[in-house]
């Protein structure tokens, strides 16, 4: 039976279709999940896609946190369900306290949309396990509020525990502290990433295929083994 990966659609999600397509290209089955439906429909993993959930009202991800589907996602994530939040999904994970820190407006005061070089700094998470430690990849980034911030003690802890999964190289696009592009939780099942691997999975239409590893890692690691 194929691995089933749920992709949540919130009002204002933009990249749910691309995330579902990336899941299929990687060889898994994509299952659409709806913000108002608390059921996760028995999926093996969940992706929170990019976009502007609830119009980014109040703060990015702040309203989505209280949606029915997120109550189920938070509970399942704490039990070890693999969850990947991309861009707005990363913001939702921080607002939901599944990941520490917050994402604020870009230091450059502009929406940044370009291809971005990243270095994979942790391959123990289920979502980065398809990469080599230190591997550099190029995938698109597109955000207005993508600067990752946290207090120094939290940043030290993330780095000390090897929980920074990806860093910006060749230039920090948004002012993220310590060039952090993505982090994971202590157990390794929850990952938040600001750039967009789902837009780099198809050589014909996208920006190369170096984002595909974020979706194929889940296939190599049976979900049951990721629970911590």
């Amino acid at each position: 039976m194929p691995v089933r990966v749920g992709v949540v659609t919130f009002p204002g999600s933009l990249d749910d279709r691309d995330a579902a397509r990336a899941v299929r290209i990687a060889g898994a089955e994509a299952v659409g999940l709806w913000h108002a439906d608390p059921s996760l429909h028995g999926v093996d993993a969940v992706i929170l896609p990019g976009g502007f959930s609830y119009g980014d009202y109040l703060r990015c991800g702040a309203i989505a946190r209280f949606s029915p589907v997120m109550e189920s996602v938070v509970a399942a994530a704490r039990d070890g369900l693999p969850v990947l939040g991309i861009c707005n999904g990363f913001q939702v994970l921080c607002e939901s306290h599944l990941l520490p820190g917050a994402l604020i407006r870009n230091r450059v005061r502009r929406f940044v949309c370009r291809e971005q070089r990243l270095r994979i700094d942790d391959v123990t998470s289920v979502w980065t396990s398809a990469y080599r430690l230190g591997q550099e990849i190029t995938i698109p980034i597109k955000n207005g509020e993508g600067a990752f911030v946290a207090d120094a003690a939290t940043l030290d802890r993330l780095e000390g525990e090897g929980r920074v999964v990806a860093r910006y190289v060749d230039g920090n696009p948004n002012g993220s502290y310590r060039d952090i592009a993505g982090i994971r939780n202590a157990a390794g099942n929850v990952v938040g990433l600001m750039p967009h691997p789902e837009h780099a999975v198809d050589g014909l239409v996208g920006s190369g295929t170096e984002g595909l590893g974020f979706f194929s890692g889940i296939l190599a690691t049976p979900p049951a083994e990721t629970a911590a």
């Binding site: 109040l58 702040a62 520490p100 917050a102 604020i104 407006r105 870009n106 230091r107 005061r109 911030v149």
Partner: protein, 76 residues
């Protein structure tokens, strides 16, 4: 019913690019003497007697503000 005001501002150590943009606009307006601008949010809540200070603090701390990056004040 009573009106409660909640003000939310970014913590002092968090960079505020919007405030910096406003500061730049002030200079172009020809006004000098403003050395810093911090942009925040102002909420007005109409509450009845059943909402106590503890509940107001919960509202501000869990929804209106993100305590990782923001401070809030509540005024009844």
């Amino acid at each position: 019913m009573a009106r409660v005001a909640v003000d939310v501002v970014l913590k002092a150590e968090i960079l505020d690019p919007q405030g910096q943009a406003i500061l730049g606009a002030l200079a172009r307006l020809g006004i000098s003497g403003v050395s810093d601008v911090r942009q925040g949010k102002h909420f007005q809540l109409e509450v009845d007697g059943s909402v106590d200070d503890e509940q107001l603090a919960k509202i501000a701390d869990t929804l209106l503000a993100n305590p990782v990056i923001e401070d809030f004040t509540i005024r009844r």
